[in-house]
Amino acid sequence: MNDLRRKLLGAAAILLLKPFAALAAAWNKDAFGAKTPQDALTGIGVGSPAPSKDLVIEAPQIAENGAVVPIEISSAIAGTTAIAVIIEKNPFPLAARFDFQNGALPYVKLNVKMNETCDVRAVAIAGARHYTATKEIKVTIGGCGG
């Protein structure tokens, strides 16, 4: 196969992929690929967030199974425009980032996977200010384990 043909095929592929690429561009590859909680924070542009009682994580302290851990996060911090969820001991700690606009309240409930017992960290972004809250969730073994 000659070089020109390969290049042409490549160009065609890029053209075909373009619509998807444009859509998928909003996925923060660096932050989601980060292997430490700190790198994940850096990846979403958050330096050292301040602990806040107005950012509330509602979750069970004990999960019978790490495959589904329900977490509810709400922020009472004025001007909150985004909430991120970081699971500190997961191989890739950043689990999700939600951006709220046009009347969406800074609230989300979701189910996440947890590799082991650890802190779940919520981060709220309110303009240039960043806040955080954590909650430890124990992941246990349920059932017969066989």
């Binding site: 004990i62 124990k138 246990t140 073994i141 349920g142 017969c144 384990g145 066989g146």
Partner: protein, 197 residues
């Protein structure tokens, strides 16, 4: 009066079916179960102990129980020397729940499923309660030869001590090796084991 008598008769009329006996149940099991992996059909055939415990609702007459417990005791081959193995390995064996099912690889080392029913190390909060808590077991009893002997024997064949115990005969059934049982004895009795902290 007549009406009442009639309905009584109707109740007393022979049912169109008869209550299944133990033999019938075993026939049903033979017909409706199939071997898979290491779970072969010989497992549905009850041994004398299983039969007696089923028939008596786990309360056999004391005399019979004593005799059969003595039989079970004969099945235990106590190794010579110290029976206290490595508690670290014991903790792993106690945590795991694999072994002896049709989905387990035949010949692969099995676990003890201990935490399914017992509390052991205080750090493990997910423990079952079907059996008694064994937290601090060696702390109160020491680790002398008698205690070692009792713990080894109980794990090897719990039925030698209590005929209709719900605890599996982990050594007798071929689930755990003598080495593994020693490691579990270590977990329970070693003063350094987390169980005794």
């Amino acid at each position: 009066m007549k009406f009442a008598l009639l309905s009584l008769l109707a109740l007393a009329a022979p049912a169109a079916w008869s209550e299944p006996g133990l033999q019938d149940v075993e026939k049903v099991l033979q017909r409706d179960f199939k071997p898979r992996g290491q779970a072969t059909m010989d497992r549905v055939r009850q041994d004398g102990l299983q039969r007696l415990c089923t028939e008596t609702g786990n309360s056999p007459p004391a005399g019979v129980a004593k005799a059969l417990e003595a039989d079970q005791m004969k099945s235990i081959a106590f190794p010579a020397g110290s029976l206290v193995g490595d508690w670290r390995r014991g903790e792993k064996i106690a945590q795991g729940g694999r072994g002896m099912t049709w989905s387990d690889k035949p010949g692969a080392p099995a676990d003890g499923s201990c935490y399914n029913c017992h509390q052991l190390s205080p750090a493990e909060v997910s423990y079952g309660t079907l059996g008694p808590s064994l937290l601090g077991f060696g702390k109160t009893r020491g680790d002398g030869a008698d205690v070692q002997h009792y713990v080894y024997g109980k794990i090897f064949n719990a039925k030698a001590y209590n005929l209709c115990s719900q605890m599996p005969r982990l050594g007798h059934s071929g689930t755990l090796t003598p080495e593994q049982i020693k490691d579990l004895v270590g977990l329970l009795l070693d003063p350094a084991s987390p169980v005794n902290q």
